[in-house]
C-alpha cells in the first residue's frame, strides 16, 4: 500500500538541488515524482525514486540529511473533477492530508498523485474502501 518517499533537507543555496539530483543520476537512480517545499531559509525536497534504498545509501555517504517517509500514491482519473472526487472521500472520512504532489509521468490515462497523511494506515483503508486505486511499491519501481 505504502511507498517510500525520500525527504532531503536543502539549504537555500545555489546549486544544492543540482548536487542532489546529480548524485542520483550518477548512481543511476530515476526520479518518479518530485516536490520542493521552500521557506525563507531552507527547503525540503521530496522525491519518489525507483531505488529508494540505494538513494538513501548515496545520501548518507554524501552527508546529505535525508529520511524515508511512508506516502501513498494513488491513481486519479485524468478528467475534470478527478482529484476532487478523491479529496471528497478523504474529507468525508476525516483523513488529514499533510501535503500532496503529482508524479512526473503517468501510466495510461490516469494521473498519479502522492499523498502524505498524518495517519497513513487509516488513509489506505479509506481509499481502498472507496475503490481508489493505490499504486504499489513494485509498481513505482517498474514505472
Amino acid at each position: 500500500m505504502k511507498i517510500k518517499q525520500i525527504s532531503v533537507f536543502l539549504e537555500n543555496r545555489k546549486g544544492r538541488l543540482y548536487d542532489v539530483c546529480s548524485l542520483l543520476g550518477k548512481n543511476n537512480i530515476n526520479i518518479r515524482a518530485l516536490n520542493v517545499a521552500e521557506t525563507e531559509s531552507f527547503g525540503i525536497l521530496r522525491i519518489v525514486v525507483n531505488k529508494p534504498e540505494a538513494a538513501m545509501d548515496a545520501f548518507n555517504e554524501a552527508g546529505i540529511v535525508a529520511r524515508l517517509t511512508d506516502v501513498i500514491a494513488v491513481e486519479v482519473e485524468d478528467k475534470p473533477g478527478g482529484l476532487a472526487d478523491i479529496l471528497k472521500v478523504l474529507s468525508d472520512e476525516d483523513v488529514n492530508i499533510e501535503y500532496m504532489y503529482g508524479f512526473v509521468e503517468k501510466s495510461s490515462d490516469k494521473a498519479l498523485m502522492v499523498f502524505r497523511f498524518d495517519d497513513v494506515e487509516k488513509a489506505a483503508e479509506v481509499l481502498t474502501k472507496h475503490n481508489v486505486k493505490i499504486v504499489q511499491e513494485q509498481g513505482v519501481r517498474e514505472l
Binding site: Q5, S7, F9, L10, E11, R16, A37, T39, S41, F42, I44, R46, G63, I64, V65, A66, R67, T69, E98, Y99, R116
Partner: protein, 433 residues
C-alpha cells in the same frame, strides 16, 4: 569636577593605608559571615589574621563566575537577607544566572562611585542626563540613576529603546549628558538624521558610554555625530554595576576607584601579577561592599594599568579600554553572551547537542544582530516544513528567554559550519567597531 577629592586624589601612602585597613576588615567579614569564603580561606590555608596589609591580598584565593553560579542564589552573601535592599540578576554561563545584592550601604556606595564617574566625565550638579541604559534587572539604568541623584543631576529615566521617543525628549529637554551603550548612541544619531533631526543641534556636553567594548573609531564617530565628548565607563554587576572605572576628559585610561575596588592585573594562566603597563586579566576586590563582597574576582577582561598621576589631578590608577576576554564571552547590545548558553538551549530542545555557530554582525551605525546557525542532523530533520519552522521558533524563543536577545535562527545542512582542527568555531564576530 572631582566628586570625592579625598579618595580620588589620595597620596600613594595614604591610599595604601586605607586599602590595608579595609582589606583586613573585609577578610574578617567574609570569613565569619560566608561559608563559601571560609572554606576557600581554609583550603588556601590562610586566616584573616594573616592579612596585615593590602600586599597580603596575594595570599587570598580568587573568586570566579563559576563560584557565583555554584553557590546560587545566596551562597556568596556575607549579609543577612533582611539587610539586602535590592537584587539584580544577569545571565550566567549556563544554568543558574548571576545574582547580585545590595545593602543600604552598598546602594549608597553605588551612588557614590557613579557620582564620581559622572563628575569625572564632566557633569556638573544641575545638568540634565538622558539615561538610555536599560532599567530593570540590568544594572546599567539604575546605576546611572543613583549616581545622577547623588551628584544632583536632573535625571531623565528613559531606559533603552523607543528611539523616536528618545529623540523627542532630547529636543524638548536639551540634556547635557547622554548615557547608553556606544552602539546605541550611533544608532540614535543615524535615526535622528533619517527623521530630519540634526543630532549636533543640542546642548550636549558629554556622553558616558559603556556595557560593551568599543573602539577609538567609534568614539570619533560618536563625538562627530553628536558634537559631544564621548567617555568610557566600566563596570560589571558582580562588582557593583557601572561605576567601577571611568574616563576623564583627557580620555587617557579609565580611573579605577581603588579605595573601594582594588584592582590587580594578572597573567590569566599563572595567576601572577604582570608588570605595570602589560596586558593581563583584571581582578577586582570589593573593599567595602557588604551584601556580596568579592575577594579577587576574576573579571576575564583583559586590560593594562598605569599608576601615573593623571593630568586631571586624580591619583587613582587607570585601566586601558577592554582589549579582550580570557574566556569566550561576547557582548551583544550590552548583554553578555556565552556560547555555552546557546549550547545549553539546544541541548534542552531534544537532548542532543547539534553543531551550532553564532554569528554577530553590525551594519554601519546599526545595532548588533545575532544569527544562530544550527546544523540539522538526521534526528532534528523532519520532512514537514511546519515542524522545522516550529523547531526554529522554539530555539529562537528559548534563546530569547535565556539571553533576552532576539536571535535569527537558521537551519543549515550538516558539516556546513566551518571547523578548525576538528573543532567548530563557535563565534564569528563580523562587527566592524
Amino acid at each position: 569636577m572631582i566628586w570625592n577629592e579625598e579618595f580620588e586624589c589620595m597620596s600613594p601612602a595614604d591610599i595604601k593605608r586605607v586599602q590595608s585597613e579595609r582589606l583586613k576588615k573585609l577578610a574578617a567579614l567574609v570569613y565569619s559571615n560566608c561559608k563559601v569564603y571560609k572554606d576557600k580561606f581554609d583550603k588556601a590555608k590562610v586566616t584573616p589574621d594573616s592579612i596585615r596589609s593590602i600586599d597580603d591580598i596575594k595570599k587570598l584565593p580568587f573568586t570566579t563566575k563559576i563560584d557565583m553560579r555554584d553557590n546560587y542564589p545566596y551562597g556568596l552573601f556575607s549579609a543577612d537577607q533582611k539587610d539586602v535592599k535590592e537584587i539584580h540578576v544577569s545571565s550566567g554561563t549556563t544554568g543558574n544566572p548571576t545574582l547580585v545584592g545590595y545593602t543600604k550601604d552598598d546602594l549608597k556606595l553605588w551612588g557614590e562611585v557613579m557620582a564620581r564617574s559622572l563628575a569625572c566625565a564632566g557633569a556638573e550638579p544641575g545638568d540634565t542626563v538622558q539615561n538610555a541604559y536599560g532599567y530593570g534587572l540590568f544594572t546599567g539604568g539604575l546605576g546611572v540613576h543613583y549616581g545622577g541623584l547623588e551628584m544632583g543631576l536632573r535625571v531623565i529615566p528613559m531606559s533603552s529603546g523607543n528611539t523616536a521617543r528618545q529623540l523627542k525628549i532630547m529636543q524638548d529637554f536639551q540634556p547635557k549628558l547622554l548615557t547608553c551603550t556606544p552602539s546605541y548612541a550611533l544608532y540614535m544619531a543615524e535615526e535622528a538624521k533619517e527623521l530630519g533631526i540634526d543630532p549636533k543641534k543640542g546642548n550636549w556636553k558629554v556622553g558616558v558610554f559603556g556595557a560593551e567594548p568599543w573602539t577609538e573609531k567609534m568614539r570619533a564617530e560618536i563625538e562627530d555625530a553628536w558634537n559631544m565628548l564621548a567617555t568610557d565607563v566600566y563596570g560589571l554587576s558582580e562588582i557593583i554595576g557601572p561605576g567601577v572605572a571611568q574616563e576623564c576628559p583627557h580620555k587617557d585610561g579609565l580611573h579605577v576607584y581603588n579605595d573601594v575596588f582594588y584592582p590587580e592585573i594578572i597573567d590569566a594562566d599563572t595567576g601572577e601579577a604582570v608588570a605595570e603597563g602589560e596586558d593581563g586579566e583584571l581582578v577586582i576586590t570589593t573593599l567595602t561592599k557588604q551584601a556580596i563582597p568579592l575577594i579577587r574576582y576574576r573579571t576575564r577582561d583583559v586590560v593594562s594599568i598605569t599608576y601615573e598621576k593623571c593630568k586631571c589631578g586624580r591619583t587613582t590608577p587607570r585601566i586601558s579600554k577592554i582589549k579582550g576576554r580570557t574566556d569566550d564571552m561576547i557582548v551583544v547590545r550590552g548583554i553578555n553572551v556565552f556560547p555555552s548558553q546557546i549550547e545549553h538551549v539546544l541541548l534542552g530542545i531534544d537532548g542532543t547537542s547539534p553543531n551550532y555557530q553564532i554569528i554577530v554582525d553590525r551594519q554601519q551605525h546599526q545595532l548588533d544582530e545575532v544569527e544562530v546557525l544550527v546544523e540539522v542532523d538526521g534526528k532534528l530533520f523532519s520532512d514537514e516544513v511546519k515542524q522545522l519552522e516550529e523547531l526554529k521558533r522554539k530555539i529562537k524563543k528559548e534563546i530569547s528567554a535565556v539571553l533576552s536577545i532576539a536571535a535569527k535562527v537558521t537551519l543549515v545542512e550538516p558539516k556546513t559550519i566551518e571547523r578548525s582542527i576538528g573543532k567548530a568555531k563557535r563565534v564569528i564576530d563580523k562587527r566592524q567597531m
